[in-house]
């Protein structure tokens, strides 16, 4: 009882001194709004997963998961149809691998040049140009690949057709390059200058500073940049549809024509009967694609987390 009366007394004193707690409506509204916005992202994500599951899973009543994943025969309109997706899966590995192998060294080197070597005037004019590259529509990239690159690939490797995983990978590397450069450059520039100063003062050369101080210190950011680039290469559709060749055989070499999962979905969905087995199978491929990108992201997260925990300031 005493406690309660003391509490009332304090509240009264607070009122008289203008200290009483206020109900700040604006703050609450904004807090709530921000919360709802973040909730929306999660709801949408869950919704997408739900749709993929609902539309895709029924295929496994028709084709067992084992056959779906490891079968090499994709005959959606035969009687009976078969839905083996290994062909697409392997193509989806090849194309991003080619793109990454090309884009990562060039991208990181370019970022290191811009962040560590280039005078600010050069950096300020070159970086926007590189970022502009990201704005080129993928269909235009596809055109260029079709027109210029694939004949080149054909004659260089003496192939029947230049339309191949290699050509697609090279064009995709152009598309992931701006992401890798831009994000890596930001990561390198975020490294405190004191590290560089310390290294220079120890008699390190510029290359040694870049190689042994800046890049290791920015490694988490650079890996994030690479993962974003890989993600772009995995998910890209139009370019691979136009220049990967679209062959329905398991590709054993990147120089062969192939059809990655994205291209398979895009080319197949138009003539699939809504709700039919092919339609379901294409959704299941979408689900698989989603799981692959999810895995890439999770691995990247893990790597970054470990990197961070190792040397946090």
């Amino acid at each position: 009882m005493r406690k309660r009366s003391a509490s009332i007394a304090i509240a009264r004193d607070a009122r008289t001194k203008g200290l009483q707690r206020r109900w700040r409506v604006g703050e609450r509204v904004i807090e709530g709004g921000i919360f709802l916005a973040s909730l929306l992202a999660i709801v949408v994500l869950l919704g997408i997963v739900a749709v993929l599951l609902r539309q895709g899973l029924p295929i496994f009543a028709h084709t067992p998961p084992w056959e779906f994943l490891f079968g090499t025969k994709w005959y959606p309109v035969s009687e009976p149809p078969t839905f083996g997706t290994t062909t697409f899966f392997v193509a989806t590995i090849w194309v991003p691998v080619v793109a990454t192998v090309i884009a990562v060294p060039i991208g990181v080197a370019c970022a290191a040049y811009l962040a560590e070597v280039a005078p600010s005037s050069v950096r300020e004019s070159v970086k926007p140009v590189i970022e502009l590259l990201a704005g080129i529509p993928s269909v235009v990239i596809g055109f260029i690949g079709l027109l210029l690159l694939s004949p080149l690939v054909q004659s260089m490797f003496n192939l029947n057709t230049g339309l191949s995983g290699l050509a697609a990978g090279i064009m995709l590397s152009l598309m992931s390059l701006p992401i890798i450069v831009s994000v890596s450059e930001d990561a390198l520039r975020a490294i405190p200058d004191e590290f560089r100063q310390a290294a220079y003062a120890l008699g390190a050369t510029r290359w040694e500073v870049v190689r042994h101080v800046s890049i290791p210190a920015a490694l988490s950011g650079i890996s994030a940049a690479i993962m974003l680039g890989v993600g772009r290469a995995i998910g890209e559709t139009m370019t691979v549809l136009m220049i990967a060749g679209g062959a329905l055989a398991v590709p054993v070499s990147p120089t062969q024509p192939m059809m990655p999962m994205t291209a398979a979905i895009a080319s197949g969905i138009g003539n699939a009967v809504r709700g039919g087995p092919q339609y379901q199978a294409l959704f299941a491929i979408g689900l698989l694609l989603f799981l692959i990108t999810l895995a890439v992201n999770l691995i990247a997260d893990r790597v970054l987390e470990r990197q961070k925990r190792k040397f946090v300031r």
Partner: protein, 271 residues
């Protein structure tokens, strides 16, 4: 360790040779002059303190000696700066080699984002092929010299950021020692540290001065008085330009300053 021998105080610096000297040194950052006409000798194997108010060019002056100002676009040096009688701004001088001879400790402890061991091994690794065993020896002896070995011998593989601020600063000193320099420049090495850590660094400096030439920039008058053999007082003249007002043995400069401005500064009348 040799350096653990008893402290020798009040060594008369005037009997020592000159390690570094500047003659009519001017430093410009683009159109602005940062230092004007500084002529100063730095005695060998002694501690020289550079004191003066904020913005008078103390740090710029310190960075003259390992040419860190080279990294600033538009910085330009006139006059001569000599290390053992050799003009270090001559075009035949290799900056990388110079910086191996003239090491630097910064204001804020700035260990690399690596393990304690790798921090100390950084210099030796860059500067020649050393075997794993040699590297171990260099790291251990450098940490000993920096009076840090006992505290970190069990955490050589941990991140340098796990150490306290004072330990990090001594790690930075060990990192410099591992390169085996002749001169160590210290740019307010204690300004980010608590009093206990500060005393440890000062104690360490005294011992290192047996073997190395040390130049320290400090804001802290007591530190200059306590820890240095020779002091030089810089002040800005006009708006931004640093000039050398007075220099001499620390005991004299602090007890019988010749210049009125020095007296005003060390007694705290401005700053």
């Amino acid at each position: 360790m040799k350096l653990d021998s008893a402290l020798t105080n009040s060594r008369p610096p005037q009997y020592r040779g000159t390690k570094l000297s500047t003659r009519h040194l001017n430093l410009f950052y683009g159109p602005c002059q940062a230092l004007r006409d500084i002529t100063l000798d730095i005695p060998e194997r002694a501690i020289t303190a550079i004191i003066g108010p904020s913005g008078c060019g103390k740090s710029s002056f310190l960075r003259i000696f390992n040419r860190m100002n080279d990294l600033i676009p538009g910085a330009r040096v006139e006059g001569s700066v000599e290390l053992d009688g050799i003009d270090i701004y001559h075009r035949s001088i290799d900056v990388v080699e110079l910086r191996k001879r003239v090491g630097m400790v910064f204001q804020k402890p700035n260990p690399f984002p690596m393990s304690v061991f790798e921090n100390v091994a950084f210099g030796p690794r860059r500067h020649g092929r050393v075997s794993r065993g040699e590297l171990q020896d260099i790291v251990e002896s450098s940490l000993h010299q920096a009076a840090l070995w006992e505290e970190v011998k069990d955490k050589l593989d941990q991140s340098a950021f796990d150490l306290s601020g004072g330990q990090q600063q001594r790690l930075c000193i060990a990192r410099v020692l591992a390169v085996e320099p002749e001169v160590i420049l210290m740019d307010e090495p204690c300004s980010a540290l608590d009093p206990v850590a500060t005393l440890k660094i000062e104690d360490l400096m005294r011992r290192l001065a047996e073997k190395y030439t040390i130049i320290i920039v400090t804001h802290n008058m007591q530190q200059a008085a306590r820890a240095s053999d020779v002091s030089a007082f810089l002040l800005m003249e006009g708006d931004i330009c640093g000039v050398l007002v007075e220099h001499g043995p620390t005991a004299e400069l602090f007890t019988k300053p010749k210049d009125r401005r020095t007296e005003d500064y060390i007694t705290g009348r401005f700053g």
